[in-house]
């Protein structure tokens, strides 16, 4: 399937390799500060709260809620043209940070703020697994 996959793909770097590796292993991981406990996203060199660089890659629950959502009618990427209208959601994970994703197993008409969601691991290529979300029913 990777031959046909034309949408933008991440190129994992030293900083975020544990994030992408985690997704391939069916784990949502984010950095968690060992000094103050802050969890942050996207991956960064140190803690945005106390500036400690002593952190771990913590396994998260994979659950959260939709902070907000949008539906794209405009084609900004040719590779998304056939998906229009497609949704993008901001998921606030239960551990705090907000991340961008797409809602699956849900009609665009049924999207609502604060709906509870859980992660779905989408193996878009042999190398890359993207974190998508579906409603918790």
């Amino acid at each position: 399937m990777s031959a046909e996959y034309t949408k933008p793909l991440p190129r994992p770097q030293a900083m975020d390799m544990p994030y992408w590796e985690g997704l391939k292993k069916r784990e949502l991981r984010m950095q968690k500060c060992r000094d103050c406990g802050k969890v942050w996203f996207p991956p960064a060199f140190g803690c945005p709260q106390c500036l400690s660089t002593n952190y771990e890659w913590a396994k998260l629950s994979g659950k959260g809620k939709v902070w907000s959502w949008s539906v794209f009618y405009q084609v900004y990427y040719q590779s998304f043209a056939k998906d229009i209208p497609y949704n993008v959601i901001q998921v606030q994970v239960d551990e705090g940070p907000i991340m961008i994703s797409n809602m699956v197993e849900c009609k665009n008409e049924d999207l609502k703020c604060d709906m509870r969601v859980e992660i779905v691991f989408d193996d878009v290529t042999p190398e890359v697994t993207l974190p998508k979300f579906r409603p918790i029913r």
């Binding site: 991440p10 961008i100 703020c113 993207l130």
Partner: protein, 386 residues
């Protein structure tokens, strides 16, 4: 902010003035193409018009701040400016118009420059700029997440949910701004717009429709600042900067869960505190409308109305010609021209001068500029000491 900082801001009040504003045609440039047109030619024309507006000589200018014009050496070379004491190029984002103004003001106030031209050019329509696409972000682009319109739209979606706002609430402001544009011969959009037409327009990124978006057009803008002492020697009465403020909402994402409220509140405290006035004392306000929700967030954040009240506030033509709180009297970014706040500065100055013709708000004593963005800025202008 402590008492000493507040005293310093008070001392800066009315010390710097705008003496000249200039812009290119907007409407005509929207309807024509010209191979000679680029950001340098647009900046050239705006600069020339601003000099003509104030009657300053080119050699009086000893500082230049550019934005969306990438090379200061190329631009200054083409307009023949040498021996400048202040030179800078700011990133092309719209948040920089208010920041350019402030850095010019600061340099003049402390004597590092005596007359500064801030110059901007935007060739968006000719190059078919969409302000979106693959920006190479590994956490956004794989999901199709792009464009400031989507970022603001997602905040508006949440705002509607939290405040129980019906779909279409932005339409009243779209219609009011179009009424202003129809009184501005240079505005790109001249046709009337009804609420029905607004609602029938296509979604770009839901919840935002076509008329919630700013235009994409070609144009240039320049404003020239100098000290209050020197400002009296030029063609038109000086327009003093009574107060100015900047507050940031930095973060990885443009969208902020507080609808930019914290930064708005900090700015409001500084500008109104310095000027010794409140939102009710402002006669006319230009609010950065990259997308219409930004106006609503600003109105609430600056205290023009309470939290969740902006959708009611803009109803009943309150912000339209003849209304109690005129907003975006040139037509704003959605109906006049998307010059990323630069042309809004010109309009704020022209309203104080009383030179806006049919769209002139009567007896303007205080005119305000507001931009709520990752770098939020605001200024209050007046024609005399308040």
């Amino acid at each position: 902010m402590d008492a000493r900082d507040r005293a310093k801001l008070k001392a800066l009040s009315n010390k710097v003035a705008v003496i000249g504003v200039g812009n290119t045609p907007f409407g005509p440039y929207y309807r024509t193409r010209d191979p000679l047109r680029n950001v340098y030619s647009l900046g050239f024309t705006a600069f020339k018009n601003a000099l003509e507006d104030c009657g300053a000589r080119k050699d009086d200018i000893d500082g230049v701040i550019l934005s969306r014009i990438p090379s200061y050496s190329k631009f200054c070379g083409m307009v023949g400016l040498r021996n400048l004491r202040l030179t800078n190029v700011l990133e092309p984002g719209g948040r920089m118009s208010g920041a350019a103004f402030q850095w010019a003001m600061e340099a003049i106030a402390c004597g590092m420059a005596s007359m500064v031209a801030c110059v901007y050019g935007n060739i968006g329509r000719s190059v078919r700029d969409t302000y979106g696409g693959d920006w190479g972000d590994p956490y956004n682009d794989p999901f199709g997440w792009t464009s400031p319109g989507a970022f603001i739209g997602s905040m508006w979606q949440r705002y509607m949910y939290e405040n129980n706002v019906p779909d279409g609430a932005l339409g009243h402001q779209a219609v009011s701004q179009r009424k202003w544009a129809q009184m501005n011969p240079n505005a790109v959009m001249q046709d009337p717009l009804t609420l029905e037409e607004y609602l029938k327009a296509r979604y770009v990124v839901k919840p935002l429709r076509l008329y919630d978006y700013c235009l994409v057009n070609d144009g240039g803008v320049c404003f020239i600042l100098t000290s209050a002492e020197r400002a009296k020697d030029f063609k038109k009465p000086p327009v003093y900067c009574v107060a100015s403020s900047q507050a940031a909402s930095h973060g990885y994402y443009y969208q902020q869960t507080d609808f930019l409220e914290d930064a708005c509140r900090i700015n409001a405290d500084q500008v109104y505190g310095t000027a010794g006035v409140g939102p009710k004392d402002i006669d006319v306000v230009q609010i950065y409308d990259n997308f219409l929700p930004t106006i609503f967030f600003s109105l609430e954040g600056y205290g023009f109305c309470g939290k969740g009240e902006a959708p009611e506030f803009v109803k009943g033509d309150r912000t339209a010609p003849g209304g109690a709180m005129p907003i975006n009297t040139s037509g704003g970014h959605c109906s006049e021209s998307y010059m990323q706040g630069w042309a809004l500065h010109c309009e704020a100055v022209r309203q104080v001068r009383g030179e806006c013709g049919p769209r002139q708000v009567p007896n303007v004593k205080l005119s305000q500029y507001i931009c709520s963005a990752p770098i939020g800025t605001s200024h209050i202008f007046s024609g005399g000491k308040i």
